[in-house]
């Protein structure tokens, strides 16, 4: 075990396949990336691009009917999570890697009090008993900015607003001070002002505990503001990866460019047509041959329809990677 390795999480050529009655679906197809301690990686992409499956593969909670299979490597602090037994993996979940889900109305159990839901994790991983667990729960609720934390412990989820529930979900996730927090669209179900509060809270907690974070989102604004590195996913593959600044400044992959352009911007006059990306996301049962974006790409040529481009470095230090035969030039990025 090389605990001294620099990256906290090192994912190499990860493939997650689902065996469906209609055939094999590769929801995650050869994805590699790494996350450093304290760093935030943003993962963006359309619905169905494999973001959530990727997150669930890392933490090992895909469907339990035996249909998905995973190959590749997920090294966390030098240990390959895919090689851990289920009991060993259960000790990692919640303690070293925790997760926050999209919908706070359904990520808390409606028939259990808040206190019981937080206390469970503390008992499971830290071995705290009633009194200690309760005291710690109050601290946790206070740290995520919930007023009157001691009273909230005795309430049920429906007595809290959406934003409050998401704060509770975050309190549960950070209860054991995980080294990596996976936030799967943590603000999608919340309104905009609450979104900002939750993202600020995540950032504050991250700094306080030097916690690494994977922030999954389809909201480019969120990603631009709250991440250090961004990976763009399309059709289960990673098509571009760069520092956040470099990605928004000089993206190379036409899909990334289209994604950035399709976001509405405030300076636009009212009733400006959104520049939607034409076509539909690829059918994952029968993905396009060659570059998966080629049917929707206006730069596509024969080579795009025949061969898949590999991730290649855009600059000398190799920090900006993209997969495209006809990349967007450095000068022609933003309209």
């Amino acid at each position: 075990m090389t605990k001294a390795s620099t990256a906290l999480l090192e994912v190499t050529h990860l493939v997650t396949q689902f065996h469906t009655p209609h055939g094999m679906v590769r929801a995650v197809d050869g994805v590699s990336f790494s996350v450093q301690r304290g760093q935030t990686l943003g993962i963006v992409g359309e619905s169905g691009s494999g973001k959530s499956v990727l997150a669930r593969t890392i933490i090992g909670i895909l469907a339990n009917d035996g249909s998905p299979t995973t190959t590749g490597g997920i090294a966390f602090e030098g240990r390959d999570l895919l090689k851990l037994s289920e009991p060993e993996m259960r000790d990692v979940r919640g303690k070293d890697i925790a997760m926050v889900f999209q919908d706070p109305t359904s990520s808390l159990n409606p028939v259990k009090r808040i206190g019981a839901q937080i206390g469970e994790v503390l008992t499971r991983h830290l071995g705290l008993r009633c009194r200690a667990a309760e005291a710690r729960s109050v601290e946790l609720l206070a740290s995520v900015g919930i007023p009157l934390p001691a009273e909230r412990l005795h309430q049920y989820p429906h007595q809290l607003s959406g934003g409050m529930r998401q704060r509770v979900a975050i309190a549960i996730a950070i209860a054991c001070e995980p080294k990596l927090l996976i936030a799967d669209e943590p603000t999608t179900a919340l309104d905009v002002t609450i979104q900002a509060q939750i993202l600020d809270l995540l950032r504050r907690l991250q700094r306080a505990h030097n916690m690494a974070m994977i922030l999954i989102s389809h909201d480019l604004g969120v990603v631009a503001e709250h991440t250090d590195v961004v990976a763009v996913m399309y059709g289960g593959q990673m098509v571009e990866r760069a520092s956040t600044r470099s990605l928004f400044h000089s993206c190379r992959m036409p899909y990334t460019q289209a994604l950035i352009r399709s976001a509405p911007s405030l300076p636009d006059p009212p009733h400006t047509r959104l520049r939607a990306i034409s076509g539909r996301p690829p059918d994952m049962l029968h993905p396009p041959i060659g570059c998966r974006f080629n049917p929707r790409c206006d730069r596509a040529t024969d080579v795009c329809r025949a061969d898949q481009p590999a991730l290649s470095p855009s600059d000398a230090d190799g920090a900006h990677l993209y997969a495209c035969w006809h990349p967007v030039g450095a000068g022609e990025v933003l309209p």
Partner: protein
């Protein structure tokens, strides 16, 4: 219950003109409390039957054969001079014991199988569902006839048999609810916090599934009371002279024209008891129905 609050909020919004519907929804009302009163009375009488100063339900008294109801024999006496009030109370015991324990047995097995099927899916689910379909494909009354005819009837066999026949129905309800709750993010979240499958099933899913299951069990109680009555009527339940509502009705059959009170009294008792339990169950079901509230 979260539905109570959610439901109120939802119900108040559209009904701004009429203020009564949301209130009515939350008051249980006489249609709930009268059945509760009747059921409680039947249960208490049946439970304390040994202690009450009743006539013997079995001893025959040839001085009072086929007497219509009067002051000493409130419900009259049957063709052998046995006190019908006493027989009704002791008969309620059989109905209630079978009516409660058989669904309890079915509930226990059904909830286990249903949650396993709904949570693990795949092959586990196929096997369980196929087995339950096979049970349901047999006409229940025929199985009951066959078993009691060969093995003989005692109360334990009756409970086991009728309970067994309710397993598929309980399994279906448990599976359907597990499918719904199993897809909620709190199940994923629990697993993401390192919970075992057993823990997720017992602590996350079971509390959610338990409420609809218990209400369904209550409705099943009334069905089993009727089924036990049918078996008794056919002479396939507890053997005479032990009274049951069903065999009391059967005894009265011959003299229906001249002594109508003999079959009428146990029939009425069974009718009122079954109706009460159904009304209670229906009221509770309506109140805890999750489909209305956005949980």
């Amino acid at each position: 219950m979260s539905t109570a609050a959610d439901g109120q909020a939802q119900a108040t919004a559209p009904a701004s003109g009429a203020a009564s519907p949301p209130l009515a929804r939350h008051r249980l009302g006489p249609r709930f409390w009268i059945p509760i009163g009747w059921t409680t009375m039947v249960v208490v009488l049946a439970a304390t039957a040994n202690l009450l100063p009743l006539h013997s339900p079995i001893e025959t008294d040839f001085t009072v054969i086929s007497n219509w109801p009067d002051a000493t024999h409130w419900f009259g006496t049957d063709q052998l001079g046995r006190d019908i009030f006493s027989r009704s109370v002791f008969g309620a015991r059989i109905s209630l014991i079978v009516g409660l324990l058989a669904p309890a047995f079915g509930l226990g097995v059904g909830i286990f199988l249903g949650m396993a099927a709904g949570y693990f899916r795949g092959r586990t689910e196929s096997i369980i569902v196929a087995a339950m379909d096979a049970i349901m494909a047999f006409p229940g009354i025929l199985i009951a006839l066959a078993v009691t005819a060969y093995v003989g009837a005692n109360i334990a066999i009756l409970i086991f048999l009728l309970g067994f026949l309710t397993i598929p129905a309980f399994m279906r309800v448990a599976r359907a609810n597990t499918l719904v709750f199993g897809q909620r993010e709190f199940v994923l979240a629990a697993r993401a916090m390192g919970a075992t499958h057993r823990r997720v099933l017992a602590l996350e899913i079971l509390p959610n599934v338990a409420i609809p299951m218990l209400i369904y069990a209550l409705l099943m109680v009334s069905r089993i009371i009727v089924t036990e009555g049918v078996l008794s009527f056919l002479g396939l339940s507890v053997p005479p002279p032990q009274p049951t509502w069903g065999n009391m009705i059967a005894d009265g059959q011959a003299d229906l024209a001249t002594l109508p009170y003999i079959p009428f009294i146990p029939s009425a008792l069974m009718f009122l008891t079954v109706l009460s339990i159904n009304l209670i169950g229906e009221r509770l079901r309506a109140r805890t129905d999750f489909r209305g509230g956005a949980l």
